[in-house]
């Protein structure tokens, strides 16, 4: 009897002293990509990374347009102020968009539905699980519930003027059209920003203020924060006026037709 109580005591002591199994120094993604064999978690992390960087190839089942996740989540979701993906600690949370308590899974599935203009994957789809694993991997070291530094896109201050799409068109043709094309179709691997291969009207990028924040902080690519706040708002308003796939939660008939024709 004595031995067993002593044993339990030592076991409890050990349990309290051992740090949690979360790795503090986790391997970099480049290192993981070179490994010949990975365990279940890291193989899902790598798969998630591959989906983020090459969505068309690795998650084509649920994708309806020609965008990649990393077109908005720049640097595979690691760049500040460009919708970084280290947000696992922020979920679950309530969102006004669907009026529900959202887990990270539902958030990812809605990305497929709106931003990727596709089909909502089931909860247990391998693609969703892999992206969840990758988000968890990126969130390592963040504080639960606290907002990570550089989350989402910056909120632009009030410029005192309304966004002007006509002015936005001039800025777009001067600064953006060399990559995104005159008709927003996307040139040489750059993503389309309107038309039927772009995000749909339900996507977060269709919000003028969010898109303006993203454009100001990151566009033109590699030369972010070179536009003024007003220019970014103008371009965003111009993009918002263009034709793009319908919002799946509003116009069901149009959406169905789009899916059947695509």
């Amino acid at each position: 009897m004595k031995i067993s109580t002593g044993f339990i005591f030592t076991a409890l002591l050990l349990l309290t002293l051992t740090p949690g199994h979360a790795q503090q120094n986790q391997p970099a993604i480049e290192q993981l990509l070179k490994e010949p064999f990975l365990d279940d978690y890291y193989s899902n992390v790598v798969y998630g990374y591959q989906i983020i960087t090459d969505t068309q190839e690795n998650a084509s089942r649920y994708v309806g347009n020609s965008l990649q996740c990393s077109n908005c989540h720049l640097q595979a979701g690691t760049q500040h102020d460009a919708l970084p993906l280290n947000v696992a600690g922020m979920y679950p949370k309530w969102r006004a968009k669907n009026g529900k308590r959202n887990g990270i899974g539902l958030r990812i599935r809605e990305c497929f539905l709106y931003s990727m203009d596709g089909i909502m994957p089931p909860e247990d789809a391998p693609e969703v699980l892999a992206i969840s694993a990758y988000v968890t991997y990126l969130s390592q070291g963040q504080v639960m519930g606290a907002e990570p530094q550089g989350r989402g896109v910056p909120t632009l201050p009030d410029t005192g003027y309304d966004p002007n799409p006509a002015n936005g068109r001039a800025v777009y043709l001067a600064q953006c059209a060399s990559c995104h094309g005159d008709r927003g179709e996307g040139i040489a691997g750059m993503p389309p920003v309107w038309g039927f291969n772009a995000y749909n009207k339900g996507a977060g990028m269709n919000d003028i203020r969010k898109a303006a924040g993203f454009i100001w902080a990151n566009m033109p690519l590699g030369n972010g924060k070179s536009l003024t706040h007003q220019q970014a708002l103008d371009v965003s308003a111009y993009l918002n006026l263009q034709i793009r796939p319908a919002d799946p939660s509003n116009s069901k008939f149009l959406k169905l037709l789009e899916h059947l024709l695509n």
């Binding site: 064999f37 089942r61 089909i119 247990d124 959406k255 169905l256």
Partner: protein, 523 residues
């Protein structure tokens, strides 16, 4: 021997001579392709793989099996094999993840190799010992598993996918309002109803009618409610390639882990071959096709071994598609070869339409397939003989509770036991005449059946005994030892043992040491 093996290993095309009307064959191939598309997609789902792998299986396994084989059997995705692949690989990796797919390919290569070993060992005969009741029991059990897994999709119970069926029933009954997705349930019911109504008018194409009904119902629901509300699961786009060449990943770590797959690989190889050979044997009996069973074993093994190189999983012969093929008048492998090609063409055109196919409609067809596998007629048929009924129900119940792999083991064990019991039964007849007591023995005398003799010897202890062995089919060492021992024992008590034997048996018995102590009389 080697030239015989080589002849079996190469495609023979001898069926070209008896090819009557090639149009019948090609049309049968088209029907086969239409039937296999929903099956391929749903069986890929059972195996835990993306749907395109099931279609590749329907193309390439069917093609290889028909080119290498000699019968009009339709091979391809198979229910029992798909379920077993799912249960084997699920503990090793997450459903449908790249590592999961790697392990599935490794498992299929192992299955192919084991089946090729069966071929080299001339193993086709082994499957004759598997009783028909056991095969019906396995098929009914697989049907039950299919119905259970189709309920997951029809009711949209994604969180309860892996639980036991009684837990699932409990959850459905107690929490139906919260858990069951009414949209998904509606599509499922429309599909199943469509199938059963359709069967009345067109018993051949009812699966296609069912799928169409479910698809149209899904479109109607998608038109009224948006996807975020219905939470319906759709098939999605299938990234199909015409030649999906794939080199399976094989490295040290994978091989170490895949030792866990070996028991499953053996079970899959066994159950796959058992089904294929039952079909082939039926074809051989019912038609005048020139079928070599060993060649069919080789064709199935080679097709499964090559499958991973074309992004498909292992398959086996399909009862329902072979029957449809036969009813269309196909008698040569040409129908199977064309079926593979038609799947490719049909899918290229159907792909965009299939994107919006609700998984509940696919699951509805699975439900119909599963329900068809549990046949009331089988139970009635086997109820005549008690041992057959015991085999049928033990197999079915062990599959219900312990899974398909355990059920197959039970089925094999019981069939072999019943077979052994029957073989070890001796027909003994005692005649008391002028020459003393004569014991006539019919059957095989070996270690298991000698015990029956002992009783007779004891009841006639102390008398002169003549044992008539003319109708004994087989005598082994332990039987001879028994006679030697008994004859010494009887001699010690003043009695005499005489064996009546034929010429063949005499040499054999003398060799085994029966010459000195026993009185042998040749007839």
């Amino acid at each position: 021997m080697i030239s015989k093996l080589l002849a079996e290993a190469t495609p023979s095309f001898t069926w070209k001579a008896r090819l009557g009307n090639w149009r019948t064959e090609v049309f049968a191939g088209l029907v086969g392709a239409m039937l296999v598309i929903p099956q391929g997609i749903t069986f890929a789902y059972l195996a835990g793989l993306p749907p395109e792998y099931g279609l590749y299986c329907a193309i390439f396994v069917t093609l290889f099996c028909s080119v290498l084989g000699s019968s009009s059997m339709m091979s391809g995705p198979n229910t029992a094999v798909a379920i077993l692949i799912g249960t084997a690989v699920l503990p090793l990796a997450g459903r449908g993840s790249p590592v999961y797919i790697d392990f599935v390919f490794l498992l299929c290569m192992m299955v192919g190799l084991i089946q090729l070993m069966f071929w080299l060992a001339r193993g086709a005969r082994i499957f004759q010992y598997l009783s028909p009741a056991a095969i019906s029991g396995i098929s009914a059990g697989a049907g039950f598993l299919i119905i259970m897994s189709s309920l997951d999709s029809i009711l949209d119970l994604s969180t309860f996918k892996t639980t036991f069926f009684y837990e699932k029933f409990y959850v459905i009954i107690t929490d139906a309002v919260d858990l069951v997705n009414p949209y998904s349930l509606a599509i499922g019911i429309v599909t199943i109803a469509g199938g059963y109504l359709g069967r009345r008018y067109s018993p051949r194409y009812f699966i296609i009618i069912a799928v169409t009904a479910g698809y149209l119902c899904g479109l109607l629901i998608a038109f009224i409610w948006p996807q975020p509300v219905t939470e319906l699961e759709y098939l999605g786009r299938m990234p199909l390639q015409w030649l999906p060449i794939n080199i399976p990943t094989v490295n040290m770590e994978y091989l170490m882990i895949s030792t866990k797959l070996i028991p499953y690989a053996i079970t899959i190889a066994f159950i796959g071959l058992a089904q294929s050979l039952v079909i082939v044997r039926e074809l051989k009996m019912e038609t005048d096709q020139d079928i070599n069973l060993d060649k069919e074993v080789y064709a199935q093994g080679m097709a499964n071994f090559l499958a991973p190189f074309f992004s498909s999983f292992a398959g086996a012969g399909s009862f329902n598609r072979t029957r449809a093929n036969q009813s269309m008048g196909a008698t040569t492998p040409l129908s199977g070869i064309t079926a593979g090609g038609f799947v490719l063409i049909l899918i290229t055109f159907l792909g965009p339409i299939l994107t919006y196919m609700p998984m509940a409609a696919m699951a509805g067809t699975l439900f119909i397939v599963g329900a068809n596998m549990i046949k009331w007629g089988d139970i009635k048929h086997y109820a005549q003989v008690r041992s057959e009924l015991v085999i049928y129900f033990s197999t079915f119940i062990s599959i219900m509770f312990f899974g398909l792999a355990a059920g197959v083991v039970v089925a094999v064990f019981l069939s072999v036991s019943v077979f052994m019991l029957r073989i070890s039964q001796l027909e003994l007849k005692i005649e008391s005449g002028v020459a003393g007591t004569v014991l006539k023995v019919k059957g095989a005398l070996f270690y298991a059946s000698v015990a029956h003799l002992t009783e007779k010897f004891h009841s006639h202890f102390g008398e002169d005994l003549t044992v008539d062995l003319q109708y004994t089919t087989h005598i082994d060492q332990s039987a001879v030892d028994f006679f030697v021992r008994e004859s010494r024992h009887m001699a010690a008590h003043g009695a005499r043992l005489t064996l009546l034997i034929n010429d063949k048996q005499r040499d054999f018995l003398k060799e085994l040491g029966a010459g000195t102590d026993i009185h042998l009389v040749s007839l």
